[in-house]
């Protein structure tokens, strides 16, 4: 039944897009890291959907978190003679020789979601990634705008210590609130990107800040920690979303549920659609010879309660998050 629906969907989308399908017989191979997180699973789902939209024959190889599997997959794609290769690299180093091989075979490579060690800049066409400093900044700027000059004590739930995403999102948020002396980070601790840790740390914040009375806003480096923090606030008799503002990053489905219930205020999206811009860049490159910039930054879109969170939840819930 599911398979039939899939066939039907592909037939329909095929019919719809065959009119403008310039890329009809293009084959693109994607070496995906694995499916270690909900976001990664969503990226795979969205990539497949974006390929179908453009009528691209899309081949995905799941590397199960292993670089050797990614290298093998890329070499298999080269042997197969695909038109382009997408790579979401599991580590930053060690890609030179395999990318050289792709280059010799005149197959453009596009990096998705992560960059590689700089020595290989001429070995790939472009990198489609999000700017995690910018994500933090968008969150910070939203808070400054929302409190509109009133004094505001912020508590921060950091990601895993040492993870570049956590460092960048912290720095970005600090940049975002740098111009507003009324907004201050009063406490900041790691919640390891997990719900359980987010809840635990938030409980200690509430205790330390006079039962939460001195807290005006919570900033979490990801939505999962915020979902935990919201639970902690509710258990302490506080009203997140009204008494205490919340802003976090990632835009996973559950945070939209909380927003629809009025318990969360804002989230900044880390889009799972890295492949869409990559497809467009490859198509333009293949057909018109347009060389894209070395870095294509994805949009860090801000969602608030005004953006119909329930509808966003519905659209995201089946992506595999």
């Amino acid at each position: 039944m599911n398979f039939r629906a899939l066939l039907l969907a592909s037939a329909v989308s095929g019919a719809l897009f065959s009119v403008g399908a310039q890329a009809a017989d293009m084959t693109i191979g994607f070496s995906q890291i694995g499916s270690e997180s909900g976001w990664r699973a969503a990226e795979t789902t969205v990539s497949k959907a974006e390929a179908k939209k453009r009528n691209i024959n899309f081949k995905i190889a799941d590397a199960q978190q292993k670089q050797e599997n990614q290298i093998k997959a890329i070499r298999a794609f080269v042997a197969q003679g695909v038109d382009a290769i997408f790579l979401a690299p599991v580590v930053a180093t060690g890609w030179d020789s395999v990318l050289k091989e792709a280059k010799e075979a005149k197959i453009p490579v596009v990096l998705l979601d992560r960059d590689i060690d700089p020595s290989g800049k001429d070995l790939y066409l472009t990198a489609v990634t999000s700017d995690s400093v910018h994500e933090g900044k968008v969150a910070g700027e939203w808070l400054v705008k929302t409190v509109a000059g009133k004094p505001c004590n912020v508590v921060e739930l950091q990601g895993t210590v040492g993870a570049s995403v956590a460092t960048n999102r912290k720095k970005g948020f600090e940049d975002g609130i740098a111009g507003a002396s009324n907004v201050k980070i009063v406490r900041s601790q790691t919640g390891d990107f997990t719900r359980a840790k987010g809840k635990e740390v938030m409980e200690s914040f509430i205790k330390a800040e006079g039962g939460g009375k001195n807290i005006c806003a919570v900033y979490a480096h990801n939505d999962d920690m915020m979902v935990g923090a919201i639970q902690a606030m509710k258990e302490a008799g506080l009203k997140p979303g009204t008494e205490i503002l919340t802003v976090s990053i990632d835009a996973v489905p559950d945070i939209f549920k909380a927003m629809a219930a009025g318990e969360a205020n804002a989230t900044v999206e880390l889009t799972p659609n890295m492949a869409g811009p990559a497809f467009d860049a490859v198509i333009a490159f293949k057909e018109k010879g347009t060389v894209p910039p070395k870095w294509i930054q994805t949009e860090s879109k801000l969602y608030t309660q005004a953006d119909n969170p329930m509808a966003v939840y519905e659209s995201k819930k089946d992506l595999g998050y």
Partner: protein, 330 residues
Amino acid sequence: MIRSLGRLTPVLATAAVFLAGFVVCSLIYPNFASLRVVMNLLTDNAFLVIVAVGMTFVIISGGIDLSVGSVIGFTTVFLALAIERWGIPPLAAFVLILVLCALFGACMGAIIQYFELPAFIVTLAGMFLARGASFLLSTESLPITADLYAHLSDHALRFEGGARLTVPAMIMIAVVLAGMVLLHLTRFGANVYALGGSRTATGLMGINVARTTVLIYTLSSVLAGLAGIVFSLYTSSGYSLSAVGVELDAIAAVVIGGTLLSGGYGFIFGSFLGVMIQGLIQTYISFDGMLSSWWAKIATGLLLFAFIAFQQLTLHLARRSRRAPAGAHP
């Protein structure tokens, strides 16, 4: 003639499975039947074949070595640090790590022999030790930028259609040939088979069991170190998480290649084919692009079952024909 063919049956069966698989893949994907794909199989699986050669010796002798994957991981990290941070020339670093690996293997072999502990436990400890040590050295993925590495990874025999025989593949072929000579044509090789048949009987036959055991595990660790060198050439980097679980892939390859897990029987070439079959499945999945890559594990699992069942069957038949009265066969 017929008897020696019978002895080779498991290897022939493995070869038949590989060839059949290759033909099927080629019929589905026209680009599959190319020299490039064959050469890729050799390069991509070079490190695994090298480890599998060592594992074949160990398993034929009735043991097991679970430490090899971790030894590869440790080797890559050690090389990256030695070459990039400590300024040791690559070739000297290669020698150094192979000596370290030899000592490591010799220690494991000695503990197995003199404390009469199961190889399973001793090499399991070795596995944790080596993996832990590599994390201690570095948790990051470290690039290796030495000229020799760039040179070696670019150096290859090139053929028509972009196919290339790379340095890792050449090293691997040399190891397979050397392994075949060592196992099938030398006294040490004969001792390895004898050890797998029966330890006590081997001792009574006047073979130095202790020396042979220590040498077998030394060989396995040295080959794992060599596989680590090849692996670091393959990725031009060192990473403490590399080659996790490779010991199990190697054991699977050895068994698919017709070696008995209980020891006493097996061939190096069979292990080579066993790795190639696993590589073939992975390549097929990449070419297909729709199947989950976990099917590679499922297929390997099914093949393992099939081959073990096949082995038991041939063993059973062999015993029955031996028990039959001599006059039954004219």
